[in-house]
């Protein structure tokens, strides 16, 4: 018998507006109307500014550990732009820009990192789950959420975000397998930013693309330049169509880069070269959109200056709202545990004690009475 090919496959890579300002007019045709492009650029600029401000808040002791999103804005923003308002967004912590586009008040994100659960108390109409802290776990929830849409015969999809590191967790593989084999309309969006804290991508995935993992599950996939909002929008249109029209999952690998430290608790200089970072600074998603808009004649320096002023004021307002929220009621963490607080927990809440005498001082009085 001759040896035959069991499988030949290829993975497309999409780049439309590259780092040199080259624009693919064919792929990019009618992809993002000019007015929308301006709005998306403004949103990325605000997100970038908030990142800067958050960093300073942490450094001056006004906020806890914060993960900057700098350099990755186009990924979640492009996705949120394509998704419908009632499609689920199931994110981790580098999707601020997409969440703000959806309508999440930015102060919610600050509150989360300021150690306040009210940052996760999100209007259900936004169809957004709170930031997932345990890496690689939320993709299963997205799969369940999309499964529920399928169950109800709705056309909603779920889009979940995760990093390159997250693709090493078992739950990631289980989510991919469920979605592919049970025909569930989830979009898996991997923000491959090349690092998982100090661990390089090669340790998470030694194949040339992360996207090809989808192939193993029988799922369609595409890779895009994640720093190119046009490419992200192009790929997300495909992904969402797959979900809505065919009820199938789709995998998008956004190739991007974490320009900042992992979080404010990290110092990336310990493990990566400045040259690499510098290379990616040139590939900044904001720079190329700005250049392109100028070329189109829809943007100029005075607009840029006006925008800078606006985001300055907007971020100041966001910080003000986050910092001037009332102190949390310390009953909250008891009351929020169950729909109805169990009696013993309620006793702990009322007395703020776990010791039995502390909870019921009459125990002492009664012994003193007997002893007397």
């Amino acid at each position: 018998m001759p040896i035959t090919n069991a499988l030949t496959t290829e993975i497309k890579r999409i780049s439309i507006l590259d780092e040199h300002g080259q624009f693919d007019a064919e792929l990019g045709k009618d992809l993002i109307p000019n007015d929308d492009l301006i709005r998306l650029y403004e949103e990325m600029t605000l997100c970038r500014k908030l990142d800067e401000v958050a960093f300073k808040l942490q450094r001056s002791g006004r906020m806890g550990t914060y993960p900057q999103n700098m350099g990755q804005e186009a990924n979640s923003l492009g996705a949120a732009y394509v998704l419908n308002q009632d499609d689920w967004l199931v994110t981790c912590y580098r999707e601020n820009c997409g969440l703000f586009h959806r309508g999440l008040p930015p102060e919610k994100i600050l509150l989360h990192w300021m150690g306040d659960e009210r940052g996760n108390n999100i209007d259900p109409a936004l169809c957004v789950t709170p930031i997932a802290v345990p890496i690689g776990t939320q993709m299963l929830h997205a799969t369940g959420l999309a499964w529920a849409s399928k169950y109800r015969g709705e056309k909603r999809v779920a889009c979940t975000f995760f990093g390159d590191g997250a693709t090493s967790e078992g739950d990631f593989h289980e989510a991919m397998n469920f979605a592919a084999n049970l025909d569930i309309p989830v979009v898996f969006f991997c923000q491959n930013n090349h690092w998982a804290i100090s661990v390089p991508g090669r340790i998470q995935c030694s194949a040339p693309t992360v996207a090809q993992r989808a192939v193993a599950y029988g799922m369609d996939t595409i890779q895009c330049d994640g720093n190119d909002i046009f490419a992200v929008v192009y790929c997300m249109r495909k992904a969402v169509a797959m979900g809505r029209e065919h009820g199938r999952p789709f995998f998008v690998e956004g190739v991007t880069y974490r320009l900042g430290d992992h979080t404010t608790a990290d110092d990336a200089r310990r493990y990566r070269d400045e040259e690499e970072v510098e290379l990616w600074r040139q590939r900044d998603p904001l720079i190329r959109v700005r250049g392109y808009m100028k070329e189109l004649g829809i943007w100029d320096d005075s607009k840029e200056a006006a925008l800078a002023e606006k985001v300055e004021a907007d971020t100041a307002g966001i910080v003000h709202r986050a910092e001037n929220i009332d102190a949390p009621d310390s009953d909250d963490f008891f009351n929020a545990m169950y729909a109805e607080i169990p009696p013993d927990l309620d006793l702990q809440r009322r007395t703020r004690r776990t010791s039995s005498i502390g909870q019921d001082p009459s125990q002492i009085e009664s012994t003193q009475a007997t002893n007397a």
Binding site: T65, G170, V199, R270, S355
Partner: protein
Amino acid sequence: MASLTLVQAINLALVQEMEKDDRVLLLGEDVGLNGGVFRVTEGLQKRFGDHRVVDTPLAESGIIGTSIGLAMAGLRPVPEIQFDGFLGPAYDQICSHAARMRTRTRGGLTVPLTIRVPVGGGIHAPELHSDSPENIYIHQPGLKVVMPSSPYDAKGLLIACLRDPDPCIFFEPKRIYRAFREEVPEDEYVLPIGKARTVCEGEDLTIVSWGASVVQCMQAIEKSERSIELIDLRTLYPFDMEAVEASVRKTGRCVIVHEAPKTGGFGAEIATRIMERCFLHLEAPVQRVAGFDTIMPYYKLELEYLPDTERIGLAIDEISAY
């Protein structure tokens, strides 16, 4: 003798044991080039090479599962789980395999590994970076569970774990990683697993605690006028009931302090043992000052959750008045 922090003492124990025994290897997320997110393994990859200090894929089940294989093959893996809250994905490997291999094979295969885990709250960390899950692993037969509260103890106990023939979980209270220094001998020493430490002696009542709470207890004792004996259990399984018993027989009163939630916490086991063994010596019901039965709140409220000197002090006064 050098004056070291908890972090430095653990680092020193690892260095010395790795030098002595080439079966010892470290693995985990960011433990290599970055030296761990708390810098506990700082400098070790440089010193011992990347085959002995290994940055792994981001997968806790993978880290523990492969460590089990390494251990069954005769090596001495020391996996790190980056934070208490991320033990979850490793639970199955720890409890369904590491803890059972010896008994399932009637000693044919054993799993001598030491899982290092930063534990507990009080450092303003994000969600799932402040939990106290020790009781889950104490409750799992087949594991040894250790939690030092000082640099000196950390070094001696870690070496004991690394040499132990059974799987150990070594919890490192992150709140006191750098909170104070202590003289730690350069020379090798081993502290036995299963032996408590009497931190200070007293006559009126006994406090039993472990981990970062020991420091809170010491502060509460300093503020109190009573003569209080403080026992740091140091190892939670096996645990030193003899030391607790002897102390409670003497004082007749006992307060147990731990960060983990009260209900079903390890304090319940200690209290029951005291009831069983010291019933006629007790002058008052044993009291527990513990975390509340809630999820550890985000950091704005974490100090409301953690047992502090005030709550410990109240319990001291109340039980004394009983």
